[in-house]
Structures are given as C-alpha cells and as structure tokens.
C-alpha cells in the first residue's frame, strides 16, 4: 500500500483557507457595496420625490446674503456662497496654525517643567496636565468664552496692559503694524536675506560633512536673515508704522482688535492641547536611555551639546508621530468654534450655508472633503519630516 504524504491531501473546499478567504472577502464586499447602494438609492429617490431636487453645486455661485463676523479676506453679504466657504476655511486655518505654534511652545515648556528635578515645579506641571487632560474641551471652551471673556469689563473700563493692550468684553485690542509704501521693497530685501541665509546654511552643512565639525547651521541662518532684515529696516524710510490702540469714549481706536470669540477659541485650544503635548514631550525625553547621557558625558560633551546632539534628536523620533496626531486633533477640534460663535469652516458651511440653502449632501461633501484633505496634508508633511529624522538602519 502506497503511503500518502500529508501535503498531498487537499482539504475539502469548505476548509480550504484559500477558498474560505476568497469567499469571505466576496461576502464582505457584497454587504458593504449593497449597503452603500441601498443608502444611495434611498437618498436619491427621497430627494427627487420629496423635495424635487437633484444634487448640484451650482448654488455656490449665488449671493450668500449673510454677514460673517470676521474675515481674513474681503467679504460682504453680496458675495457668493463659495466666497463665504473660503472665509470660513481661512478662519479655520488661522486658528489651527496659531494654535499649533502656541500649543507646541506651551506644551514643550510644561513637559520640561514636568521633568524638572525641582519638586514644586514638577508638581505644578503635573497638576496642570491632570486637570486639563480630564476636562472636556467643549466645557473648557464655553467656560472660557462665557465665564471669562464675556465677563471682562466694558470697553470704557477695559483692563489696560502696558498702555497698549486693552482687554474688554468686545475682545482684545493689541498694537498692530501698518505697512507704508516701502513695505513691498522691504519684503523683497527680506526675501533676499532668506536666500542668502539658506545658501550660507547649505555651504556650512556641506563643509561640516567634509570636515566632520558641524557648525550651528540653524543659528547662522537665523543670524543672517535677522541681520539683513535689520539693515533693511534701518536703510528704508520706515517700512511699517506701529498703530497702538487708544481709548476714545466707548470704543478703542486703532491697533488690531482680536474678537472675544477668536481669543476664547484660540486660548482654549492652546491650553487644552498643550497638556497633551506636554505628556508627549515628557515621554519622548524619558525614552532616551540614561546610558546615552552618560556616554555623552564620558566622551566629554558639554551639557548643552549632549542635549542638542544626543538627547534631542533621539527624543524627536519618539515625539513626532504622537505630536502629529495632536496637531490633527487641534485642527479638527477647532470645529467646536460653532459653540462659541466664531465663524470657522464648520460654523459657516455646516450651519449658516446649510440652513439657508438646505443643500445637506453637497455641503457635507465639501466640509468632510476639506477636513479630510487638511488631515491627509498634515500627516503627509509630518511623515516626510519623520522620514528625514528617522533612524537610518542597516
């Protein structure tokens, strides 16, 4: 009798992994596609029969007819819906970019405080982190807007900081630069400075690679640009004048007024996100093993050199991925602006435009598409950066 080797026996088809795999995939695809078609079909027939409308984006060119509290570009109620959408988008951008910058700064500060050997300093940071990580952002934002910024005194009794910043329930008035005719020339000079600085930085880096002694490239770059900027400022006849707000009767004149809603949203986002970034920074710095610091000291590196060349580059690798998701969270969280009346993308598009036009499907497609591309773009940029600083392995 011939012996049959186990590998020659084919299992019955209902226990064959390959057949099962194909079958289960088919099943899932059919269910998902079927559900999608079912929803789509219901939506199309529902729209046609009940409201007699088809899906179209042509309404975007119609006149919006509503005002928006604040805008980075010129806007009035005679402009189109599309323009209003862009205004909202830019407002979201503004809050997100400023929020990311300040939250990173505050987060690093608190994270380093948390690692301080000073007991009190470390505990203060711990309390800050534990408080703000465990309170809902929306509660914080509304508290901030209605309990703090709205409770500031009237303009006439505004809190004045250093004769230049006025805090009142209308918002915060700060000094602001006003460009003069020579401003465009100054910008060109500044651009030239950046080009020169970048060239110098490239040269220094190449030289550093050749000689093995890397100079402080970034510092040189900043010094060069600052020097050129300073020279330009002195040579040109005042490229920008400073406009300081002053109190006149019941209002402030001049300067720039940051609205109460904007300030509440921005500061709320910064305070909240900084608590999370602090934890990310702390974990990153702690992830660098003690031996690295000891080895650096043994090699004769100074404390500053150890931090710059040994600790920081290694910590950064651990920090970047979670930091990216914090940036994404901040951007998405800025949509809570709707709760405190700041006209961001979601408040303008998902609320005002949608309520006026009744175009649910079109508006939600646009909103979600925008947020999705913002998220994907941020992840893409951070991934590129992450790849650059990644540990090069064999």
């Amino acid at each position: 009798m011939q012996e049959i080797h186990a590998s020659q026996v084919r299992p019955p088809f209902y226990r064959d992994e390959r057949v099962l795999g194909i079958f289960s995939q088919l099943l899932v695809v059919i269910i998902v596609v079927g559900l999608g078609l079912f929803f789509y079909n219901n939506m199309i027939t529902g729209l046609r029969e009940k409201h007699n409308i088809a899906i179209t984006f042509s309404f975007l060119t119609q006149t919006a007819g509503f005002d928006i509290g604040e805008s980075l570009i010129e806007y009035s109620r005679e402009r189109t819906y599309l323009r209003a959408f862009v205004v909202g988008l830019l407002n979201t951008f503004q809050v997100a970019v400023l929020g990311i910058i300040f939250a990173t700064a505050l987060g690093i500060f608190v994270g380093v405080m948390r690692l301080s050997t000073n007991f009190l300093v470390s505990k203060i940071a711990a309390v800050y982190i534990d408080i703000f990580r465990n309170i809902p952002l929306l509660v914080l934002l509304i508290f901030w807007a209605q309990g703090v910024f709205l409770k500031l005194p009237r303009v006439a009794d505004a809190i004045v900081l250093g004769d230049a910043v006025y805090l009142s329930n209308r918002g915060v008035a700060i000094p602001w630069g006003i460009p003069t005719e020579s401003w465009s020339t100054y910008l060109i000079i500044l651009g030239a400075g950046i080009v020169v600085g970048a060239g110098l930085a490239y040269f220094l880096r190449e030289q550093g690679k050749r000689t093995g002694r890397m100079p402080l490239v970034t510092l040189w770059f900043i010094v060069t640009v600052a020097a050129v900027g300073l020279i330009g400022w002195i040579v040109l006849p005042q490229p920008m004048t400073l406009d300081v707000p002053i109190l006149e009767g019941f209002n402030t004149q001049g300067g720039k007024i940051l609205s109460q809603q904007f300030m509440a949203l921005l500061s709320g986002l910064i305070i909240y996100t900084a608590a999370f970034i602090a934890e990310v920074v702390r974990a990153g710095i702690q992830s660098v093993s003690k031996g690295q610091r000891e080895a650096a000291t043994a090699l004769g590196l100074t404390a500053a050199q150890t931090l710059r060349l040994i600790i920081f580059p290694q910590a950064l690798r651990v920090i970047i991925p979670p930091l990216t998701s914090q940036y994404l969270n901040l951007t998405k969280n800025s949509s809570l602006a709707i709760a405190i009346g700041y006209p961001d993308l979601f408040a303008v598009a998902g609320n005002t435009i949608l309520n006026q036009t009744g175009r649910e499907i079109e508006m939600f497609t646009m909103i979600m598409g925008t947020y999705l591309s913002l998220s994907l773009l941020t992840s893409l940029l951070m991934n590129i950066y992450n790849r650059r600083i990644r540990l090069v392995e064999r």
Binding site: L120, L150, S335
Partner: protein
Amino acid sequence: MTTAAGTPTDRSVLPVTERYTLLGWLRRNLFSDLFNSLLTLVALASILIVARLLLRWAFNTAEWGVIPANFNLIMRGQYPAIEAWRLWLVIYLLGTVVGIVWRLIVGQFNTTARVLVAIPLVLMLIPFFSMGTRLYLLITAVASFAGYFIAGYLPILHRGRAAVYFVIAYLVVMLILLRGVGAEDGSLPPVQPILWGGLLLSLLLAFFGITLSFPLGVLLALGRQSRLPAIRVISVIYIEFIRGVPLISLLFMGQIMLQLFLPDGFPLVDRVLRALVAITLFSAAYTAENVRGGLQSIPRGQYEAAQAVGLSTYQSTIHIILPQALRAVIPVLVGQFISLFKDTTLVALVGIFDLLGIARTIIANPDWLGTQQEVFAVIAVLFWIFSYTMSFASRRLERRLGVGQR
C-alpha cells in the same frame, strides 16, 4: 526555619536606604543650588497667587445658590420627577450588581471595595440634600453590602460567566426601567430618551458608546491586519475617513442626513440614538488604531507557534493573539475611552441635553443670569472626577495584569 544569608529577606545585605530628614528632603528637592532655589520661590509665588484668586472667587464672588436649585436638572435633565423612583431603583440595582460581581470576581472585601461602599455614604454629607435623598443613598450602600453577602451563598460554578450574566441582566432591566413599557397611564409609562438628560445621559452615552465601539474597533483592527486584500482596503478606508473628519460633522450628519439614507416610511430614529450611533462609529475607528498597535507588538513567533500546534486562524486570534494584544494597549484604550466620555459633550450642540446641554439651559434661564462660572465649574469638576477615576483605575489594572513585566 531561618532564612539563609544572602536571600533578599536578610536585612543585612540590603542596600542602606538613605533616611531623609525634612530639612534634607527640602534641600535635595527644592534648594539644591541657586537656580533651583529661585525656581522654588517663583513656583511658590505663583501657587499662592492662583490659590488666592481661586479661594477668593469660591468663597466671596461665586453665587452657589444656582447649584442646589437646579440639582435635579443637572443629575437627570427633563426626566419626569414623578418617575424619579425608577432612577433610584436603577441605582439600588447597580449597587447590588456591583456587590455581586465584586464577590464573584475579586472575592474579598478589600480597600477598593470599602472606597466603593463609602461613595454613597460620603455623598450623604452634601449639605443641601434632603433627608429623603440621604435615605436613598443609604439604601444604595446597604444594597451593595447585601449583594456582596448574598453572592457568597449562591451555588455558582463558573464565577466569571455568572458575573457576565448578572451584568447583562442588569443592563436589560436598567433599559426597561429607564425607557418604560406599556401604556401612558400604566405603572411604567414610557419616557422618551430625548427627556433623559444631565449626568444620567452623559454616563449612559459614554457607557454604551464604549461597549458598542469596542467590538467594532477590534473587528476593524483585525480587518486592517488581515491577509485578505478586500477586507483590508475596506477597513483602511473606513478608519482613515473617520479619523480625518471632526466628530461634530458626524453628529450633525447623523441628525440631518441619517433619515435621508433610510427608505421612505422607516420610523424616525430617536435623536439620542442617532447621536449614539455617530459617537460609536467615530470612536470605533480610533479604537481600531489603538488595537492595531497592540496587534503589531505581537512577535511573529506567536502566530507561527499557534499555527504549529494546529489552531485555526479564528482560534489563534481569539485565544493567542487578541488577549496579548489587548493587554498591551490597556492604557491607550482607557485614554481613548476617556476621550469618548469627554466627547459625549458634543451632543449638546445637536440639541440633546446632556450635562453640558443642561448647563447651557440653566445659564440661559433669566433667574440665573450671570452664573456661567459657577455652573461650568461644577460641570467641569463632575467630568474631571469621572475621567480621572477612569485613568486611575487603568493604572491599577495595568499593574495587576503586569503590563510590560511578562
């Protein structure tokens, strides 16, 4: 028997532990050098300033009268006062079930159990509670004691399984009690979920959001790691789409568009349920990413070993891979659950009166104008207590399961 020299129990070979005097501790931690001393002084000054501001506000400026006056609203929203006994019954039963489950799973009346029983007793001390409320709280404490002792005499073979059945039974009874059955004039008249509110609704949304999104998230994570391309692609698209958009857009979509997707004549889905669906779908994508982290941390050898001993894909996933993967990501998952709990506040923006929604109606009430600080401070503290307890519990659980130790 005496312990042999050299074993860790022998005190003589242990390293000498430095004994700090208070002064020594201060010098070491606060005044080790000039810079450190300066830091200490700055820190002390800022603590004093903040503490002074807070205390002055709490004892002089704040008008706390708004809290006792609206306490029922904060706790249960628009839930009819006549039916409030049902909520108390739900709480008694919760106490009992916690007692039973504690006996079945933990088995001893340890410190944590004492703390749990102390909660209703401590709540009795809140000054503005009526005698009735205090009595009900006392009953809750007694009920949890009773549950603990009764469970000791129950003839139960599979303790873990019995605990699960008790919890499921409790959830069913709870939902029936809350929602009500039968006619309007019956003994248990229905209460529409839109009337549920306050802390009650926040906790319910968080609990059901967590329990529903967790299995979905695990499935999605397995799908993303699957060898089958179609399943992988669908999971990836779902996860990345949901993670790319803000929750509030999903909530609005749920309120405005869900009905559009359903066939004509489909009964109107309850607003609260629509919000719960949005929260669950949203949270599942994040849970999936966290679980994927755990799955990726499992060495290949575990999969191969499971295959070698003849386990099927299903068996090795359930018995070998998932238990290890989930244990590795407990802290991240609890963090995710905490953020889900915090995210439930967003339902206040779509016209549902959870804790935050109720707070907004209270400060809009002309009788309580200008009480934003007091009301929001209380709301924030309530949220903080629950979130912090969750993260505290997770740290305890982590230690018990020995994450990172075996």
